[in-house]
């Protein structure tokens, strides 16, 4: 990666390009997943495949339900916080209290947006990974089990919304959209 500092004026442009690239890749992954699912039809008699598809759908629904619960719990907490605000003795304290509640609600919205984006990525990556393994099983003539995800795919390539130019740009970007969901383990 280059050690040259990125000019301040270009940071929003770089971030916009990175966002486009990541969103474009999600679209591309969706397309690949749809095509990949169709080509799995020869395996449609495999009960374990259908069970795993159902399990994936169920897992997604569970996470969507949890997201919604988190949203409602967060709203309730902010509402309760506002209701129990005590009388302020100074104007500055009053302003601070009002701002704190607004900031808490904004943080809730931001967290929700990041979580929804993360869930979308989670679904796309996991489904593509699962599809790749199923194709590998078909290619190897194996049934069931956990195949390697390293087999050559015959699925369409990810649309290169980027091209080499964005690839260079991205490597110079000071921040990445992936900061929206960080690895914290």
């Amino acid at each position: 990666m280059s050690n040259e500092p990125t000019p301040v004026w270009s940071a929003p442009l770089l971030r916009a390009q990175k966002m486009q690239m990541l969103a474009g890749q999600l679209v591309g992954t969706s397309l690949r997943n749809e095509v990949g699912t169709a080509t799995l039809l020869p395996m449609s008699l495999d009960a374990s495949l259908w069970q795993e598809l159902l399990d994936i759908q169920h897992a997604i629904l569970e996470r969507v339900a949890q997201q919604q619960q988190n949203w409602w719990d967060g709203c309730k907490d902010v509402y309760a916080e506002y209701n129990q605000l005590k009388m302020a003795n100074t104007l500055s304290k009053f302003v601070e209290q009002e701002y704190n509640v607004v900031a808490q609600f904004n943080a809730l919205v931001a967290n929700q947006a990041a979580s929804w984006a993360g869930l979308m990525e989670n679904i796309h990556v996991d489904y593509a990974y699962w599809l790749t393994q199923k194709h590998a099983q078909v290619a190897n003539g194996a049934g069931g089990g956990h195949g390697a995800a390293q087999a050559t795919l015959t699925l369409p390539a990810l649309p290169d919304a980027a091209s080499a130019t964005t690839s260079q740009v991205v490597t110079k970007a000071k921040a990445s959209a992936k900061a929206a969901k960080k690895v914290t383990a």
Binding site: E52, N122, A128, Y129, G147, A148, L158
Partner: protein, 355 residues
């Protein structure tokens, strides 16, 4: 827990360490790094403890996740190695074991044959929402695929614990929680269990520490390179008997994300240095390792990672590198190998102690 801490910054010195008898354990990113370090230098170790961690090179499970390698590895880390939708979208232990064997044949890590007599402790909390139990189960399968007999593996998945190392400290978080400082009170010292499994026949932990907690300069071990995302200081507990010349073993204890001594919480994307207190010394003073080590002539080494988020290295939470953020070339990652900047640094510390 009172311990005599040297106020100075010292250099690590050599003790009468029994070569090849060391061990390593860690939580979370420390657990993923434990597996990496364990495999990279298996000839130096007799066992490992993995709390909430996944198998070797898990973050490279699905390169096709993204066009850019570094994006793919982060996405793999999050969505395959931490929160897979179903077990079948988690890491493939058999495939990753084959990858490990290939790395050994290429000389990137020690021969995997060293592992088959070693003792492995693996733990996953039933309420862990950060690294799912399905992933940690794959770590057990990974070691089994490398011919570690089941009798040498102690696998726990029945405790209602969140993402944490477990202690019996009353002030620690409730057991099922998944929040910083990721040290939860479960009524027992997990560190003691880890050491008891790795080294059979250990004496009970000391009630009172006899030794010294030292602060040493870590920077020479990674040449001060920012890419390492490691802190200026590391820590080690040296029992009095070891200082006096008794033969010793070394246990490397690796903290998780957000647990390095100088970690400060981020608010709105910035370290909140004005309001947040750094994590401090909790991990290396309250997790119980020192008391068990004290009565058994074990040096506990606590390397420290720190948060870095400058566009070159994206590791704001101060995690150990298990997805390639330190690799000079993201398309040819080396974070898992003997040549990895963090693994070289930690093994260098072990060597400096005499291990």
């Amino acid at each position: 827990m009172l311990v005599d801490t040297d106020a100075k910054v010292v250099s690590l010195k050599r003790y009468k360490v029994l070569k090849g008898q060391s061990s390593v354990s860690g939580l979370s990113s420390g657990a993923f790094m434990t597996v990496q370090l364990h495999l990279a230098h298996s000839s130096s170790f007799v066992g490992a403890g993995v709390i909430a961690g996944g198998p070797f090179r898990c973050a490279e499970s699905f390169r096709a996740a993204s066009a850019l390698a570094e994006d793919a590895y982060v996405q793999n880390a999050l969505y395959i190695c931490m929160n897979p939708l179903i077990p079948q979208t988690g890491p493939d232990a058999r495939h990753l074991a084959k990858v490990a064997k290939a790395c050994a044949e290429a000389g990137e890590i020690d021969p995997v044959q060293h592992l088959k007599d070693q003792r492995i402790y693996i733990f996953t909390g039933k309420t862990d929402e950060v690294v799912y139990s399905d992933v940690v189960k794959r770590t057990k399968q990974f070691y089994q695929a490398l011919d570690v007999p089941l009798s040498n593996i102690r696998y726990h998945d029945h405790v209602e614990a969140g993402h944490s190392i477990i202690t019996d400290n009353p002030e620690d978080s409730p057991l099922p929680t998944n929040q910083p400082p990721y040290i939860n009170n479960g009524g027992f010292m997990q560190s003691h269990d880890i050491l008891d499994h790795i080294y059979e026949g250990l004496k009970p932990a000391s009630d009172k520490l006899s030794g010294r907690l030292i602060r040493f300069d870590q920077t020479p071990f990674f040449d001060g390179d920012k890419r390492a995302s490691m802190s200026s200081f590391g820590y080690a507990y040296i029992p009095a008997a070891v200082e006096a010349g008794a033969p010793a073993r070394v246990h490397i204890a690796l903290h998780g994300c957000k647990q390095g001594y100088n970690y400060v919480n981020y608010v709105n994307g910035r370290p909140d240095t004005q309001n947040s207190v750094p994590y401090g010394n909790r991990y290396f003073t309250t997790t119980g390792y020192n008391h068990k080590a004290d009565s058994n002539n074990i040096i506990v080494l606590y390397p420290q990672a720190q948060g870095t988020d400058d566009g070159e290295t994206q590791n704001p939470d101060g995690c150990w590198d298990w997805w390639g953020y330190t690799s000079a070339n993201p398309n040819q990652p080396d974070y898992y190998s003997k040549q990895a900047i963090q693994i070289r640094a930690i093994h260098g510390m072990l060597s400096a102690l005499g291990g």
